[in-house]
Symmetry: C2
Subunit: 346 residues, 2 copies
């Protein structure tokens, strides 16, 4: 099984996660409503930390829950015991094995907080540490770079948000059920994506921009570019980017952006237009809209995905772009230098 196979498995994984977690998500949502948490604390690292960023937006925008991303070292290394009695504490980890993430869940549970593990290994320490657990059932992920387990983590969070927003919500159910077909449609764009990647084979630095729900995609795309293709890439909220880092954009720098329809679309397209016109940026846009700056490369998304589910579809062109850039650069996407599948940080 190769990385490309795992990218291609995502429609099937989404179908499987939808079925496997339906009743568990309903139960967890009921427990959360009962406990009336004031805020959410999410502990995660690496790719799962980008699922945590998605949690911040989806639970914030749709459920009114403030979400804090944990600084695990506060508990694991400084011995801090932050007040968590009114929190929902979520740990997200493919392997469920990183000791610092487990420590956050243990501390939350000891204080009486509601605790939830989201992991691909139901026998992991993380699952054992939490009161509640969602088993991703994404199948074994063999490649070191996470792809299908990221999508599965996003989906578990999206399902939780839907169950919290409206336990009987039929619109959300329909939108969730349409995801596999949307991801298939995104996979169909592979040839266009491959050509866009090939055209940037000489670039060593990339900037990736997204905002709102797609900020998570920007961060995860940048990580995939580093891990798989071995290029420097940083993902920014397009607002933060304007507070300083935008000064780096010079002639020919690839600026990759996720700009689907939504309340943040127009301003991102305007920013990309000015980076292209005034600085000579080499703009690549992932979008379902026809208004990208002329001359920009467009990686098309299927139209009509609701914004809160956008990251589950937009990550597909990002993964494929990173994969084909790796091949074009002569990098083996399966074995990034110096990385292991499970990283145990303390």
């Amino acid at each position: 099984v190769s990385l490309r196979d795992e990218i291609g498995e995502q429609p099937e994984v989404v179908r499987s996660v939808l079925v496997a977690n339906e009743s568990a998500v309903t139960d967890v949502a009921a427990a959360i409503r009962e406990r009336d948490a004031e805020f959410v604390l999410v502990a995660a690292r690496g790719t799962s930390d980008h699922a945590a960023i998605y949690a911040q937006y989806v639970l914030g925008a749709r459920n009114g829950l403030p979400v804090a991303l944990a600084a695990p070292s506060l508990m694991s290394r400084f011995g801090t015991r932050p007040r968590l009695r009114r929190a929902l504490v979520i740990g997200i980890s493919q392997s469920g094995g990183s000791p610092d993430i487990v420590a956050v869940l243990r501390e939350g549970r000891a204080q009486g907080a509601l605790t939830l593990a989201i992991t691909n290994d139901p026998m992991s320490e993380l699952a054992a540490a939490a009161e509640w657990s969602l088993d991703l059932k994404a199948g074994t992920e063999r490649s070191i770079a996470a792809t299908k387990t990221y999508t599965a983590e996003l989906l578990a969070l999206a399902m939780l948000s839907a169950a919290l927003a409206d336990p009987a919500g039929s619109d959300d159910c329909r939108d969730l059920a349409e995801l596999p077909a949307r991801i298939e449609a995104a996979l169909d764009g592979e040839e266009q994506i491959r050509r866009a990647a090939m055209a940037r084979v000489g670039a060593g630095n990339f900037v990736v921009l997204g905002r709102g729900f797609e900020y998570a995609t920007a961060r995860e795309w940048a990580l995939k570019l580093k891990e798989i293709a071995g290029v420097f890439a940083e993902g920014y909220s397009s607002a933060d980017f304007q507070h300083g880092p935008s000064t780096l954009v010079g002639h020919g720098l690839p600026v990759l952006a996720i700009a689907p329809a939504g309340p943040l679309h127009d301003e991102l397209i305007e920013l990309l237009g000015s980076l292209q016109a005034e600085r000579g940026a080499d703009v690549v846009v992932v979008s379902d809209q026809p208004d990208s700056p002329s001359g920009a490369a467009v990686l098309p998304l299927p139209a009509g995905t609701p914004d809160w589910l956008g990251p589950l579809v937009a990550i597909v062109p990002a993964q494929l772009f990173s994969y084909h850039l790796a091949l074009a650069r002569g990098h083996d996407p399966e074995t990034p230098r110096g990385l292991r599948k499970v990283t145990r940080t303390l």
Copy 2:
């Protein structure tokens, strides 16, 4: 007044912030204790966002407060109203003018949360929007890249943490009072720092590592390198770095690290040693300890700074390194291309 002058003003700015905010901080701390907030939400962008990261560690480690970094677009662009009734909402902004940050404070106040503005302009919209306000009194900052106002923001947060931890705390008072002398001592290392920067004039990419309190310094150092010197630089928690990005380290890549004494020191030094020995990284260490990998460039810190105040001292070599790298590269550190002093994001 040049950027270098503003870097040099920091001991004086610290003295002035200590005096100007003493009673205001005591009052704010009393209000926070009375309101018994369950968590803190901090809204900030750019350099001030790195002060927000410091807030996460200092209020977490010393005051047991979970800290969430706000996603301002949730309120300003998605119209979300996250539940903030039990929150302390802090807005940090040099200018106090960015509309998205102001919107977070307004929403918090409307819900009855305790609100606090930390800004260098007491007449700003941010100060007006908050119930409480700390006036940094750092003096006008003319350079586009923030230096002394960052230190002033950190200090306001450190003073708040000290007042919350123990209103009469004499140890903390002594440690705070010693900061100007420590910053002077850090400034004295300039010639060594200048030489270390000159030796890396050909590098276009830098990695910056820190963890715990010094994660904020790693992020701010990377931003200064981008803004002033025009190089690509990304700041990482050394734990997150091991979950993927470490694969980028190849022969000669400058890896800058902040590794003062403390519970995270040994593991960071070990990581740097292996990046140097196995990957040929060009290691530069900011530290008050003598155990840096042999062959690494060491930018010395004065010994004995308590870890929670470390970022106020460690940022000085980071600023000076960025400044001298800019000069060596022929960049004008005063006028980064395309940036303005005040960035108004929505």
